[in-house]
Every structure is written in structure tokens, then in C-alpha cells.
């Protein structure tokens, strides 16, 4: 097996994949460093899952290069597979087995698995370890998926919308679990449409829309990409006034001068990742509309 000398755990260049007339992935580039948690963020149908499934070796690509741990996912062997963990979103398979049976069985596929009982404990299913998987709730089922994804001690972990359908408490627990894996040095590719999740877990976020990366950076940096998103608001003549500005400090100082000190009901809201994300998607939609107006190929 040829292992390329590569600094990145995952690298993607010019990735393309179409289904019939639809270009699901239209030239995606990114690199994920070892030990990094990288989030692909985007609306449904943006191409997140297609990118992930190409990297997992489930789907072929039409063009571009992809490497996971230095190997082309289209030609990964068992040794390569044993270093990956894939957390699937399924809810019916393995139904007639118990949690413990499933986790112990999958441990037998790997050269150096984690201790199955410890993994069951880590995902919080110890009390359910003798339950048939069919009887697990949605959240418990997802934890089983995580347990099966991490049992092989993966170097790279793929999490495709892992907390969809979780209640807030379960999501917090799940995040703690993922942070533990990050602390151990696991490289993680996370797809999600929960901005809060990306902000909480990811070192870097790529916003993906219509098969393209429209922005990429740390959650904090991404905020800097779009301007005029800090909102200053106050009360004047009994009504709420607000302005959006790139210079909130100047605005507040001016207001303070005008009111002679204290500004009634003053508030300053920095752009949240959600605002950035929505503005990026809006920008993308406008670009698409322009393409359309010019008779260009919107896909």
C-alpha cells in the first residue's frame, strides 16, 4: 500500500459528483489536520452527505482528488477501514440483538478495539446493555450508532448529523462524549445543520451550499467574513431603534454623547454564527438568481 506523505488527515481537492442533471458536489476543497474537528454546515441537499460518503468510501466521485489518511477512499483496504469510524444514522438494523451483543460483535472486526463494556458505559447505555436494540428510543439508538462507530479506536471519525432528534440534554451529553474523543486526538468530520453544534464542537467550519464551500474558517473567524452584522439597539421616545454597523464602539459613543451619558435600553449584539450562516446562504441564493437571470446554468 502506498501511503502518501501528507500533513492532513483528510484532504479534498476539486471534488465533483453529479446525479443525472444535478451537480450535488461542484468543486469542493478542504483539508482537515490530524486531531482537528471539522464541521460541514449547510442546508439539506447542500452536498454534505455526498462529500462525507465519498470520503467514507461509499460513493464514487466524478472528478477531483480525495485522501483519507493518505489513501484514496475508492481504493481503501481493510487496514485503512480499521482506522475509520463511521457513525451511521440508521434505526432498524441489528434489531434482534442486544446492545452488548452488537458492540461486542463489532469489536471483533478490529485489530485493537476499545473495551466494549467501557464503550457502552461511555455512551450511557450500560443500563440498557441487555435490551434488544429494537426497543431502544431514538436517542439511545443514536448512542448505539456512536458506540459502533468508535469501538475500533478510529483515528478518523465521521459523524453525519449525529444529534438529529436529540433533546437538549442528550445533545449536551453527546457533545461531552465527542469532546472526550477530541481530547484523545481523534480527527473528526462532523456534518450538521445545527449551528450551535458546529460552534460548540468544531475547530473549523465549512459552510456548504449548492455543492460548493461558500465560507471556511473557525467559528469566530467566520463572523469576520460578513460585515455590518453587529447590531446596536436602544430606546428613544418610547420605541426601539437599532442600527447595523461595522463600528459598534463609535455608534455607542455617539449615542452616549447625544443622551448625555447613559443610553436607555442599550444593547450590542455581535453577529452569531447563525446570522453569518444565514447571510452566507442569502448571498449564495442571490448569486444563483443572478446566474439564472443571465441565462447561466444555475446548477
Amino acid at each position: 500500500m502506498i501511503t502518501h506523505v501528507s500533513e492532513a488527515a483528510i484532504s479534498v481537492r476539486g471534488l465533483r459528483k453529479g446525479y443525472g442533471d444535478v451537480q450535488a458536489v461542484d468543486g469542493v476543497d478542504f483539508e482537515i489536520a490530524f486531531g482537528e474537528c471539522f464541521a460541514l454546515l449547510g442546508p439539506n441537499g447542500a452536498g454534505k452527505t455526498t462529500v462525507t460518503e465519498i470520503l467514507e468510501g461509499y460513493r464514487s466521485r466524478d472528478d477531483g482528488t480525495a485522501e483519507v489518511l493518505g489513501i484514496d477512499p475508492g481504493h481503501g483496504d481493510r487496514h485503512w477501514r480499521s482506522q475509520l469510524g463511521i457513525v451511521l444514522q440508521s434505526d432498524r438494523d441489528l434489531g434482534d440483538l442486544t446492545v452488548a451483543e452488537a458492540v461486542h460483535h463489532f469489536a471483533g472486526y478490529y485489530p485493537d478495539p476499545r473495551d466494549p463494556d467501557e464503550v457502552i458505559k461511555a455512551v450511557g447505555l450500560t443500563e440498557k446493555h441487555k435490551s434488544r436494540n429494537l426497543k431502544l428510543s431514538g436517542g439511545q439508538r443514536r448512542r448505539l450508532d456512536v458506540a459502533l462507530g468508535i469501538i475500533g479506536r478510529p483515528r478518523v471519525l465521521f459523524l453525519d448529523e449525529p444529534t438529529t432528534g436529540f433533546d437538549p440534554e442528550a445533545r449536551r451529553d453527546f457533545w461531552e462524549l465527542i469532546e472526550g474523543l477530541k481530547a484523545e486526538g481523534t480527527t473528526i468530520l462532523l456534518t450538521t445543520h445545527y449551528l450551535e453544534e458546529a460552534e460548540h464542537l468544531a475547530d473549523r467550519v465549512a459552510v456548504i451550499a449548492r455543492g460548493r464551500v461558500v465560507a471556511c474558517g473557525s467559528p469566530a473567524e467566520l463572523g469576520g467574513r460578513t460585515r455590518g452584522l453587529t447590531r446596536v439597539h436602544w430606546l428613544e421616545d418610547g420605541t426601539l431603534h437599532d442600527v447595523r454597523t461595522e463600528e459598534p464602539t463609535r455608534v455607542v459613543l455617539e449615542l452616549s454623547a447625544r443622551f448625555g451619558g447613559e443610553v436607555p435600553g442599550l444593547g450590542v449584539d455581535r453577529a452569531r454564527l447563525e446570522d453569518v450562516y444565514l447571510s452566507l446562504l442569502d448571498g449564495d441564493r442571490e448569486a444563483a438568481d443572478e446566474d439564472f437571470a443571465q441565462g447561466g446554468d444555475a446548477e
Binding site: 461509499y58 481493510r78 463511521i86 441489528l94 434482534d96
Partner: protein
């Protein structure tokens, strides 16, 4: 670094897992154990006393055919229904994302088919011997025929079941596609009716497929030698049985290798 577990070791673990799943699933238990018994009781009761040759009852003839059908049920029918469900419910996708070798999966299926067949055939033989005048194989030659016919039948029909698993479009619809095929073969291959009484074209049709030859070989095992007079050729034609089943093993292997897929159509 520790080395990867071997294909055989994982295959062994898969056999255990497949059996757990098989015996815990009520549907497969019904299809594979209750249904053949119900058929046996119905046909045994309706045609109980009818002789098809001096000293040979139709029920004896039918039990031998049902043992042959047992091969088809536990291998072809079982896999052609179970694999589309596994493709649909994400089992195969999950396995494909692990370092489990594909051959370990097939070892698991073959082991499960083998154990299910032994269990089913033991029940059929026990009931046949207890209630319907079937004799256990009495000579070493008959036992030998029973073993090779079972093995060739299981191998060919397992491979055909794996290959056919690509045909049903949905997991839920699989039994509706597969069960009629099995039924038609049973009607035309000398299970539900005496083969030499069937129209000539039907005999020719059935002779193309494994079940006709499997049933014939099983009759040679479980019926007295005198019953060979009701065969079309007046003899058991065991050489021909072995040849046709062996050819189907080859066809099954090619079809399984060429057509089997892990993911649903249109998802790569």
C-alpha cells in the same frame, strides 16, 4: 500494531450472530419451520392413503419433496428475502463501513443456512418417520446421497439466493417476489404433484431448475427402491441429479459474483 482478525475468525463470529438473529426473528421462524410443517400436515391429511405405486403412498413421496424444498426454503428463499431487508435497513451499509471482509459475511450466511437446514430437515424427517411412513435412510449409499444432494443443493441455492437478492426493489416486497418462484418450482418439480403425471412441457420446464433433481435425489434416499418406477426414466438418475446441481452451483457462483451488490440500486 495488532494485526487484523482473519476472514475465517470473523466469519465464525458472523455465523453465531446470524443464527441469533435468525432464531430470534419470528417471521423467519414461521417461514422456515412452521410453514413446511403446516404443508406437510395438510397434504398428509388430504392425500394420506393414496398409493402412487404398489406400497408407496403419496405422502411418502411428498415428504421427500418437502425435504428437498427445505433446501430451497432455508437457502434461496431465506437469503433472497433477508438480504434485501438488510440492504434496506442499513445492515449492509454499516458492515461495509467496517474492516469486516465481504467473504466473512458470506461465511456467516452459509453457516446460518446450513444450521437452519439441518434443524428444519430434522423436524421434517422426525414427523415423516413418526406419522407418514417415511423410512430413515437404511444404507450407507442412501446416507451418502442424502449428504451430497443436501450439500450441492444448499451451495447452489445459497449462491442463487445471494444473486437473486438484487431483484426485489424493496426489502418489504422481497417475499412477494420470492415466494411465488418457490411455489411455482414446487408445483412443477414433483413436490405437490407426482412428477411423471405432469404435462410434458411442465416436466421439461422444471428439469431446467435444481428443485426437480433435488427432489428426485431425496426420493431415492427416503423411498423404497421399488418407487423408482414412478420416475420418468424408471430410475433415480442420480448421476444426472449430481450433474445438474453441480452446474447450478457454477451458474449461481457466476451470478452472485456478477450481480450481488451491497448498496441499493442507484445509490453509489
Amino acid at each position: 500494531m495488532s494485526s487484523l482478525p482473519s476472514t475465517g475468525a470473523i466469519g465464525g463470529r458472523r455465523v453465531v450472530l446470524e443464527l441469533k438473529q435468525f432464531f430470534r426473528d419470528r417471521n423467519s421462524a414461521l417461514w422456515n419451520f412452521a410453514f413446511p410443517m403446516i404443508l406437510l400436515v395438510i397434504f398428509g391429511s388430504v392425500f394420506g392413503g393414496q398409493d402412487i405405486a404398489p406400497g408407496i403412498t403419496f405422502t411418502q413421496y411428498f415428504v421427500a419433496g418437502m425435504i428437498a424444498s427445505g433446501v430451497l426454503y432455508t437457502s434461496f428463499q431465506n437469503l433472497a428475502i433477508a438480504i434485501p431487508l438488510e440492504r434496506e435497513d442499513g445492515t449492509l451499509k454499516r458492515l461495509g463501513g467496517t474492516p469486516m471482509p465481504k467473504n466473512s459475511y458470506f461465511i456467516g450466511k452459509i453457516g446460518m443456512v446450513f444450521v437452519a437446514y439441518v434443524a428444519q430437515v430434522a423436524i421434517l424427517i422426525a414427523v415423516g418417520v413418526a406419522f407418514y411412513g417415511i423410512a430413515l435412510p437404511s444404507t450407507g449409499m442412501q446416507w451418502f446421497t442424502f449428504v451430497w444432494a443436501s450439500l450441492l443443493g444448499l451451495v447452489s441455492c445459497t449462491l442463487l439466493g445471494i444473486a437473486f437478492s438484487v431483484v426485489p426493489r424493496t426489502g418489504r416486497g422481497a417475499s412477494a417476489v420470492v415466494a411465488p418462484i418457490v411455489l411455482v418450482l414446487q408445483f412443477t418439480s414433483g413436490v405437490f404433484f407426482v412428477f411423471n403425471q405432469l404435462p410434458d412441457w411442465m416436466q421439461k420446464f422444471a428439469s431446467l431448475f435444481p428443485l426437480k433433481w433435488l427432489a428426485q435425489a431425496m426420493r431415492s434416499v427416503f423411498l423404497p427402491d421399488a418407487a423408482a418406477v414412478v420416475e420418468v426414466g424408471g430410475s433415480w438418475e442420480l448421476g444426472m441429479c449430481a450433474l445438474v446441481l453441480a452446474i447450478w452451483c457454477g451458474i449461481g457462483l457466476v451470478l452472485a459474483v456478477v450481480f450481488f451488490r451491497w448498496t441499493p440500486r442507484g445509490s453509489s
